[in-house]
Symmetry: C2
């Protein structure tokens, strides 16, 4: 009996370790993508593009491990909740990895244009997104719902930076239309970073659910205003 | 015994019916969002924005139903596969619903700008995305892996339309910078439609997995080139 219990625990630990590895890889990919962007490093960007495959493979491993636990252990209560959370977290991390990969692809395209520099807000966004991702994965390892919620609230800052980056890039499009391709890619990169922030809040919600057993009701006001941006006098509202 | 089997079947049917309802709602939201955009109908767009909540609620119902089946039935084999697929499909449909909602938000912003018209490619994209969504949900109901794969292949056409829309909008940004906000929102709307297409391929993959029991290896070449778009002579390559 003890053998079976131990082995079950080992399987759950395996699942946690796969999720942690996914989170670590996404952090690495994000920070490499932004380094590549800042330094016009096409080689590094190509490495990030290729590296996404590892994250995809880990997602499949999470699913296979979860299916195997479901089929052989018939988990209930806390274990059931944790396994379902793991499936969802792996899907969210896979998507966050896709955003990092997309930043790398756009970096390669930007490097083919004449250099023009870009708003430092993009770098600030990427630093905040990377910190949020690291902190939410720490909260996951420590099974800490409060720490997860702390990350969840920080997404507001990232949304505010995104609003700023959006306005800066729209202004540059008008001032320097010769670089329109670069500005458009940067606009999409800023959007990718904002979406990575959204994914970390999804992770935070899953951690909360896994620890507390209840779904967090989303009552935080949405601060990303770029979908409603107008050129009128209230453009910065 | 027969009673238990029947009741189990009823639970699986309930799960399928929730997924079908989610798919139907996303179709409705998408087509309403595009009608609102074509007709500058702010009221309809606001209705789409508010309507997304129903899709979110259905996702929670899918999860609760799945958890209840896991906990009480300990599903194995085909049933286990189907329930895991349902969880994933509901997450994908929730995301597709978010894209429709985002189109509605941007429509409201565009309606506040001076009218300027927009490339018909956007409408073509939305029609194709809506058809793909409808067909993939039909494939789901009919448990038809071939029909799902057919949708999966059609995403290439949507990617090609997106490449065209992207080039058209970049050109208008340069020609008519006074309408930069409108062009930017339309660029993001085109991106949303392309992403809805990606979600339908995710649904197709889940249906394939659910019917065949093996994961479809993604070998289709990626045709969306906008992340690599440059302003050089190969810009249209």
């Amino acid at each position: 009996m003890e053998h079976i219990v131990k082995s079950y625990d080992a399987e759950i630990r395996e699942l946690r370790s796969l999720i942690s590895r996914m989170g670590g890889l996404v952090e690495d990919q994000l920070s490499a993508a932004i380094t590549a962007l800042s330094e016009y490093d096409v080689e590094l960007a190509a490495k990030v593009k290729a590296g996404d495959r590892q994250i995809d493979d880990l997602e499949i491993q999470v699913e296979n491990t979860a299916v195997s636990i479901f089929a052989r252990r018939a988990p209930v209560a806390d274990d059931l909740r944790e396994i379902i959370s793991s499936l969802k977290m792996s899907a969210v991390l896979e998507r966050a990895g896709d955003y990092a990969k997309n930043i790398a692809k756009r970096t390669i395209a930007i490097a083919q244009e004449r250099p023009v520099g870009f708003p430092p807000t993009i770098v600030q966004m990427s630093e905040l997104a990377a910190t949020m991702l690291r902190d939410v994965m720490d909260a996951y390892v420590r099974h800490n719902a409060d720490a997860a919620m702390d990350v969840w609230y920080r997404d507001e800052q990232l949304d505010n930076l995104h609003n700023t980056a959006y306005r800066q890039l729209i202004a540059r499009m008008v001032e320097m239309p010769d670089h329109i391709n670069t500005w458009t890619h940067l606009l999409m990169i800023a959007k990718n970073l904002e979406r990575i922030g959204d994914q970390t809040t999804n992770l935070a919600e899953q951690i909360y659910y896994s620890v507390k057993g209840t779904i967090l009701e989303d009552t935080r006001p949405k601060h990303d205003l770029t979908s409603s941006a107008t050129s009128g006098p209230d453009a910065s509202a």
